[in-house]
Symmetry: C2
Subunit: 343 residues, 2 copies
């Protein structure tokens, strides 16, 4: 960083602030290289980048929030990438600027397959109206979700008015994505019943719309039947968004059928939820949840990484399993040790 100190002074204000203004302006002007650089900054694990990235974000905050944030998940093989390509392309064609992000807490293990294969969204990533960003590599779910939330803000400041967030569906990633989007799409295939049984519990309840994907060729008629089956089931479920009825639709990214209609459904969803106030309400509660989850994560991280706790907790836990002491007493013990020692 030393060789850049001269430039730091030019940018003024802050010793560690080299390029902060450059980044803010660059992102604001929709400069893709600058946007990519700013995202790399918020994705950095290095603590020296933490303050800088927060300064960039705070400078950009007034220009954020004006997008529609859409989460997309699906069963394996549902064709999420091809769908995002087709749907994203259509949204660009009707005048939007589309950013595509991903939440994949497992990518540290799998090597980051999600969106990692550049060829997967070839058309969309070459479209000047779109911005496709691979998944941030690794880290905890909490870390990944902070990065994705901040990347959403950066993309919004850069002028993208639709943010598509793909989830690979590992662990709790759908719940996390639901907590950062306005609208949540679930991609399914034909064969509703069996599929649903294989699906993780609770995912169906998160969706605002269900898409029976690959509804083309021989599969089309089956997809229509599946759609009706889903609508039957959905009838028995409580919607996730106030004032919005969850329905199933069919679509094909191959033939393009149904894609336009989904954009219409989205528009309708936004109109209704903005009118009934739920859009703003959800945004506010998402901000609160973000703040509180960061606080909780930090309190726990500090506790569980404390040397004494790390040493004593496994023994205390074992005593609980062996029925030697109650969890209440065990918790008091370990908390007593932690409190005594301080941070």
């Amino acid at each position: 960083m030393d060789e850049q100190r001269g430039k730091d002074r030019t940018a003024g204000k802050n010793r560690s602030g080299k390029g902060i203004d450059d980044l803010i302006n660059g992102v604001r002007n929709g400069n893709r290289a600058m946007l990519a650089q700013a995202i790399t900054l918020v994705e950095s694990h290095a603590s020296k980048h933490a303050e800088k990235s927060q300064n960039v974000l705070n400078g950009l905050l007034p220009y954020t929030g004006n997008s529609i944030r859409i989460g997309i998940t699906g069963v394996p093989g549902a064709g999420k990438s091809t769908f995002i390509e087709a749907f994203g392309q259509h949204l660009c064609n009707i005048g939007h600027r589309v950013a595509v992000l991903a939440v994949d807490p497992s990518s540290s293990i799998t090597g980051g397959s999600i969106l990692g294969d550049k060829t997967r969204m070839e058309q969309l990533s070459q479209d000047p109206r779109a911005f496709v960003r691979p998944s941030p590599s690794g880290g905890t779910l909490g870390g990944v979700s902070r990065k994705t939330r901040e990347t959403i803000l950066l993309c919004e400041a850069a002028g993208y008015d639709i943010i598509l967030i793909e989830t690979i569906g590992v662990g709790q990633s759908e719940v996390v994505v639901r907590s950062m989007v306005d609208y949540f799409l679930l991609l399914m295939l034909t064969g509703a019943g069996d599929e649903l049984q294989g699906m993780k519990k609770g995912v169906l309840e998160l969706a605002d719309s269900i898409v029976i994907h690959k509804a083309d060729g021989d599969n089309k008629q089956k997809a229509l039947t599946t759609k009706e089956e889903y609508n039957q089931i959905l009838h028995f479920m409580k919607p996730t968004t106030n004032g919005w009825e969850v329905r199933a639709y069919t679509a094909s990214s191959y033939s393009g059928e149904g894609i336009k209609e989904l954009a219409g459904t989205l528009e309708c969803f936004i109109e209704i939820t903005k009118k009934n106030g739920f859009f703003e309400e959800r945004r506010k509660s998402q901000l609160k949840e973000w703040l509180y989850s960061m606080i909780r994560d930090d309190l726990e991280r500090r506790f569980f990484s404390h040397p004494k706790v790390k040493k004593e907790l496994p023994l205390i836990e074992q005593n609980v399993y062996l029925g030697k002491e109650t969890p209440t007493k065990a918790a008091r013990e370990i908390l007593g040790i932690y409190k005594e020692e301080g941070d």
Copy 2:
């Protein structure tokens, strides 16, 4: 406490341990007055009782765990009390000793209606083989759940081999009850579809069995139809317990029809889950969850009750809502203040 010090010495061991041994022995001998006193102790908010109650519990721990813990919830009007009376009575008749508890985090507000009306389970509460305990009054969900968990242990040590835990279904109480029981029953009424829509999200997914209650008289045929409708829906859902298929049943507490069969289903459930190891596995993970939730609760309680945090957090939160700073920066700020100040 001073006037009791003499007796303390008789009991030996521990200055604050007056009556600890008496309570332990009394509970062990199934003395109902002693059991009630021990429960009052674990329910106490007074910190001076905390250590004593933990000593009593630890003395009794070797005699706990040998019951079947059953959670019971239902839509309003489903007749939980009459069902518990009928089901509990039957279990007593076939040789069990039954304790009935309740989880009702709202009882501080509503004045403790749940199980509070002594006349509600008149027969059962007069049965020498049963023990009916009203809901602990008030407190947070975390507090109520600790008390209930510890009361379960006390009842087990007193020889009750079936513990029925009623939930009034407010807030997250079903999730909490699910986290402390082996088997979870959901009581419903006829008119499946509409009922289900009115039900809280996710509750159906917690159940091991569904009971269509009040299946008598004119209602019987309708209940059978409803049962089939539920079985249709359940077919599409992932079971909550490994190796156990969730099914709907009909029962009437009025005519007694179906009650015996439910006891048979329960027996079958226990046999299967003990054989496949899930029973023990769930018990262990429940202990772990109990321990960790107590730790988390305490870390958060300490943070949120800290004077500086209480003063600064609302302002910082407001800044986040107004878009003046990111949640990440806000979290760092408030955590910085907390860390600086210490506890």
